[in-house]
Symmetry: C2
Subunit: 401 residues, 2 copies
């Protein structure tokens, strides 16, 4: 457990905000330091380190037989003022599992690879999960290479300057790999609330994201009688209430969020004339997602004198991990005697794209108070260690298949 | 009418945005150009021009008797991307009235003064109505002189650099003046809606302004079950609905506005954890304002799991103009045969402070569609001209008192 603690503490230095968190955007100096530290540690353990043409890092321990590798990993980049666990914990527990095999002299039939996916957060270069998406054929590589950050620097140039650009022949592929495991923090409060140490992840929830707007008329707060007003904020209040009223009638495991909200003119003496919100809804069952869309489509065209418009921004279908992969993680967890829960991931992860190429699944560890993408993000060392044990046992179980 | 049109068009050049409006913040170059043009025109008419220690300009036509002067005027500064009527029309119609007296050879018993109040909008140097407030003893002069704009320039320095700083002995005073009239655009839709050309202003509505906040908990949109959420935006939706439900039970002439609204983290995948709005409420009757405050104070301490807090930001009592002053304007309007309406001003104006020193009142002209503080602000030339006629007749009636 001390060895894992040392890893977590060491990586927490790269991009340390001084307030318990890190800022480690893709290919910035702190991210490059973390990548270099990862490579140093892997080489010290005798792993062979390669990168592909998206800068993804593969650190491999050889197997006894001529078989495809089994891979485990996550990402080393973070959001702005993020925490010490999102992504990096999946890399470090994977490394910990391989280190244990090496130290304990456990030989495997398959090669074992620890993987670092480039630019998972998409905080510097949009979209999120860019590199696993390119590898899985979800995104066009040329388009992704051309993506620029806020300062106008292209991903392509940042990649080349990083020193981590490798060869396309090194890419993750269905031929070279037979399975992928990703450990991640839950980023939600469910495991903690239910007293579980491990989440056995069955898949990633489907989602839709809509933008909704109301249009009113800006007028002076002191001189416009109430009946003559078109208040875009008061109209949006009715929209949000309507969404809650209708969506709460659907399946209770549906989650939906009005996360973005803005508008104008935003002056205390002026009636608001435009308000915009986003609504993000997630559920395992595509039928429930269809019902959500129906509710949005049933919004009145005009509320409280203000036109209401909506537009789908994006959507994804539910990804179900292969039952035998999920079963291997579940069995390993049971063998170790850890309290666990089968659950779906509400957030997106690299594993959802890689599941298109090879059998893949995920392991969740609890997030204290559900906090994530913030400096307060925390998972106890013991829970991290339990997660690493589940990885080790799952890798060894996969090796026997 | 052509003479007034020329005035309006000429002054519209100073700070012209090219989109039908002006930006003429206090003591910026366009504001200084407008002030200089005003002084040139006054001197050409033989008026004596003085300024006081706040940069207020007084252009006076002598009277036949040794009596205090009767003053008329408004302001020449604007908000950012404001219109061609707010403030400037009160100055130009005052000047037009005096010019008519001069051209027509109408002599008066009292001296007649056209007044330009400095920094009425408060867009560059807060607060609004700064200089009439200092003259009326509402604001401490030393504090006002120290007020800085966004670039750190003190009002004092901008005043000195303007060339318009005069002597404190030139100030508007109860001794030197016997009445003050201010013509202004309505900045609301009531006159237009009721087909009236003139608003006979009885006073300025009292108001309160509160800030209201809700505090939630930021969590991941995809991973936090609905029952475990503390959504500050959904809580604020209940707050706004509650305010409307309760305030709509009060007097129907009450106006209230939730004009400012903001919060965070404002990310589509994160539950909002803080939302802030302002509520501005105005009514003639202080009892109704007290009822509004009671409604705000009756907000539950916690709504939808989120603490709700409120704080008074500012308040003012209703100002009632003296009935005989209002009566003079009403009689003049009746004599001219213009359709008019007795009404209160929902917005604040210099006249409300000056009413503490001498009998004062206001004349409103219609705002097309109620638009104000925007480039679309408009009043027809005929309505402006009718306003100038009401001023002329009211000044002459005051002169006979």
């Amino acid at each position: 457990m001390e060895r894992l603690e040392d890893k977590i503490k060491t990586f927490g230095k790269y991009g340390d905000t001084g307030k318990g968190g890190i800022t480690r955007l893709c290919f910035t100096e702190p991210n490059l330091q973390a990548r270099a530290e990862f490579c140093r540690r892997c080489e010290a353990l005798g792993l062979s380190v390669k990168t592909d043409d998206m800068g993804n890092i593969y650190a491999t321990k050889p197997g006894k037989e001529d078989l495809p590798a089994i891979a485990v990993g996550s990402h080393l980049d973070s959001v702005v003022r993020g925490g010490n666990f999102d992504g990096v914990l999946g890399v470090l527990t994977g490394l910990e599992a391989l280190e244990t095999m090496i130290v304990e002299g456990i030989e495997t039939r398959h090669p074992m690879t620890v993987l670092v996916w480039t630019n998972e957060e998409g905080s510097r270069f949009r979209p999120a999960m860019m590199s696993s998406g390119v590898i899985a054929g979800k995104f066009d590589q040329a388009t992704m290479l051309a993506v620029k950050d806020e300062e106008g620097i292209a991903f392509k140039d940042a990649l080349e300057a990083s020193g981590f650009k490798g060869d396309a022949t090194n890419r993750f592929s269905t031929k070279g790999y037979s399975a992928f495991l990703e450990l991640h923090i839950e980023q939600g409060p469910v495991l903690e609330a239910e007293g579980k140490d491990i989440g056995v992840v069955e898949g990633v929830l489907g989602m839709v994201n809509y933008e909704i707007k109301t249009r009113g008329q800006a007028n002076h707060a002191g001189t416009t009688p109430m009946p003559l007003r078109k208040d875009a904020l008061y109209a949006m209040v009715a929209v949000i209430q309507y969404l809650h009223d209708e969506l709460d009638k659907l399946d209770p495991s549906l989650v939906y969020t009005t996360g973005e909200f803005s508008g104008g003119p935003n002056v205390h003496t002026v009636i608001p004339d435009n308000v915009r919100i986003t609504i993000d809804a997630r559920h395992r069952d595509p039928e429930v997602i269809r019902q959500v869309v129906k509710v949005i489509e049933s919004l009145p065209a005009e509320i409280r004198g203000c036109p209401v418009t909506y537009r789908e921004q994006w959507a994804r279908n539910t990804i179900d991990f292969k039952p035998d992969m999920v079963g291997i993680v579940e069995e390993s967890t049971k063998t170790l005697g850890y309290p666990y829960k089968r659950m779906y991931s509400g957030a997106g992860h690299d594993a959802q794209y890689i599941a298109d190429l090879v059998p893949a699944t995920m392991i969740f560890v609890p997030s204290d108070t559900g906090f994530s993408h913030c400096e307060e993000e925390h998972t106890s060392l013991e829970q991290c260690w339990k997660g690493a044990n589940v990885i080790l046992h799952s890798l060894l179980a996969l090796d026997q298949k």
